[in-house]
């Protein structure tokens, strides 16, 4: 690795100070500078980092930390706790409707984030739990989007509902739910087209789907490699469409994944799962503590 780990760096900051016996406020600030840099290197949003450092600083200064035996470890502990707090302190599951009632999930996000793949992954997961999913091709724009969903649906052994490219997504969604009611599907997952958060018409299209059918869970799919823009994206999707949870994809790469923290910080919505590969079984539970360590580079 080109960098020393944050742990090492902090140990160094504090080693120089140990001879003095106790920490000063400036010492803590010096350590927080390293932490700030580590978070920025992980692509956590600049403003989120600023707020975060402020709250850690408040906790670290004027506590036992400064007089403690191992102030380096104490500061790391505080940072870690605060980070896990921010990430959501426990793992969350997608809320399904009770009994045989149909649950409708709508996938949303930027182009290429991994919505279609994740739609099929979710279907597999819930099929194993005894659900009967119906995947719905609401992307009427991307070349071969429907075919992609059909191929993936077939691999998962779940049904795919499509009406071609000449209907409005809201109408497709409505027809799909009627289909589900007739055929005993108790989980309907709408795969929507990728769209930019600033594309008014395309954002309105998602609202229209929500007006036309009752969507129980709107899931924002976000690429783990996303940089500073993650907050803009998450904020706009949340404000314009309303999201209930987040799935972070492509965490099988070597990105530190600060986008996850940024999205959580601006929306307050839980991260539900993480995508860990291209295979349709590569969807895993999200663990806030693991994500915190990954982001800090520890």
């Amino acid at each position: 690795m080109a960098f020393d780990s944050l742990t090492e760096k902090l140990q160094n900051v504090f080693k120089n100070l140990r001879s003095k016996g106790r920490l000063t406020e400036d010492d803590v600030k010096e350590a927080l500078k390293e932490i700030k840099r580590a978070l920025l290197a992980a692509d956590v949003n600049f403003k989120v980092v600023k707020d975060f450092i402020k709250s850690v600083q408040e906790r670290a200064i004027g506590q036992d930390v400064m007089n403690g035996l191992n102030p380096g470890q104490m500061v790391i502990k505080i940072v870690n706790e605060e980070l896990i707090n921010l990430m959501g302190s426990e793992t969350t599951e997608i809320q399904l409707q009770p009994g045989k009632a149909i649950t409708v999930i709508m996938m949303a996000g930027l182009q290429g984030a991994g919505k279609t793949t994740t739609t099929a992954k979710l279907a597999g997961k819930f099929k194993l739990k005894g659900k009967k999913p119906l995947l719905v091709a609401c992307d009427v724009y991307r070349p071969a989007a429907i075919k992609q969903l059909q191929v993936n649906g077939e691999k998962q052994g779940v049904e795919v509902f499509s009406m071609g490219e000449n209907h409005k997504p809201a109408n497709i969604a409505r027809a799909a739910i009627e289909h589900a009611q007739k055929n005993g599907n108790d989980l309907v997952i709408l795969d929507t087209a990728g769209r930019l958060h600033i594309d008014e018409d395309m954002m309105a299209e998602l609202e229209e789907i929500k007006e036309e059918v009752e969507v129980h869970q709107t899931i924002l799919v976000i690429d783990a490699m996303t940089g500073q823009d993650a907050v803009n994206v998450a904020k706009e999707f949340n404000e314009k469409v309303g999201i209930d949870g987040v799935i972070v994809t492509k965490l099988d790469g070597d990105t530190r994944g600060g986008a996850a923290l940024s999205v959580k910080a601006v929306t307050g919505k839980p991260i539900l799962y993480v995508g860990m590969g291209e295979k349709l079984s590569d969807l895993e539970q999200f663990y806030p503590d693991r994500m915190a360590s990954r982001i800090l580079g520890m």
Binding site: R37, A41, L110, P143, Q148, L196, T226
Partner: protein, 291 residues
């Protein structure tokens, strides 16, 4: 803005601009250190002057050189590579459209035999751009598709052969080796071809894009970058860090999902957007022409 002197607050504002533009911490701190040294050396006192100095130096650095589009004038092979979902296939469709409009004979190879419906997607782009497609069966060996495509490009005297590859994360050893293998086949079967190897990066990506560029460069000697999704609010600043570190220029930007949404890279526009300034040629004209 509105700083009256060059102080810590002023530099912090610049830091914010650069970090928020996704240049990454390392490049940001390097650039600011360099700027501070210049400010001292040149006895600069005005914040505006300092800011301009920064903007100009990034513009200069992002210059693409004179031979960037040389492949258009030769019989060439354009390999398009990158991580998942960045816009490789779409970029190929757009670039094919551009070359066809210049009356070039274009062959496209569908060497993504992995992703569901990748072939069908590319076929639609080949139709739109009126290029010829050499297909591959889902699950077949991409290297054999490349082999067939080279033969076809030669037989048909194509001007440009473009190869669409599957998205792959740069930390996957076997997938990166697969790329190396495809490259070797082109080296061996088509040594006379001019080579262009474009890494496609999503402008929304943060610092991981630097790692992507490095790893792809290791297996495939990249000659240029395509920065897609520049129609969003992300600035794609990591390209500055990549240019500084690898010397590989951005050659094209993607600005939408239609066939016309590919532009040649313009360093001035790029840096102006980074600093949220209007385009150079719009500032004065727009007022006077009142359009």
């Amino acid at each position: 803005h509105g700083f009256s002197r060059i102080d810590d607050d002023f530099y912090e504002e610049l830091e914010e601009v650069l970090i928020m533009g996704d240049l990454g911490v390392q490049a940001t701190y390097d650039i600011l250190d360099d700027l501070k040294a210049k400010v001292k050396e040149k006895h600069i006192k005005e914040p505006m002057e300092c800011r301009e100095l920064l903007i100009e130096s990034i513009k200069e650095q992002m210059d693409i050189g004179e031979t960037a589009y040389e492949f258009e004038n030769h019989t060439s092979v354009v390999m398009v590579i990158g991580v998942n979902g960045v816009g490789k296939t779409t970029t190929i469709g757009k670039l094919a459209g551009k070359l066809r409009a210049e009356d070039k004979k274009v062959v496209i190879a569908a060497a993504d035999t992995f992703r569901a419906a990748a072939g069908e997607q590319l076929k639609e782009w080949a139709n739109r751009s009126q290029a010829e497609l050499i297909g591959g069966q889902e699950g077949s060996d991409p290297a054999s598709v490349v082999f067939d495509a080279v033969a076809a490009a030669k037989a048909r005297h194509a001007d440009v052969l473009m190869i669409d590859t599957a998205g792959r994360l740069h930390n996957k050893k076997n997938l990166m080796e697969e790329l190396r293998k495809m490259n070797k086949i082109i080296d061996r079967e088509f040594p006379e071809a001019y080579r262009e190897t474009l890494v496609v990066l999503d402008a929304t990506t943060g610092q991981n894009a630097l790692q992507q560029a490095k790893e792809f460069n290791d297996v495939a000697e990249i000659t240029g970058i395509v920065l897609t999704k520049m129609d969003g609010t992300a600035k794609g600043g990591i390209a500055v860090a990549i240019h500084a570190e690898l010397g590989v220029p951005v050659k094209y930007i993607g600005v939408g999902e239609t066939i016309d949404d590919l532009q040649k890279f313009d360093a001035d526009d790029f840096v102006n957007a980074l600093f949220e300034r209007p385009k150079d040629d719009e500032t004065s004209e727009e007022v006077s022409e009142n359009k």
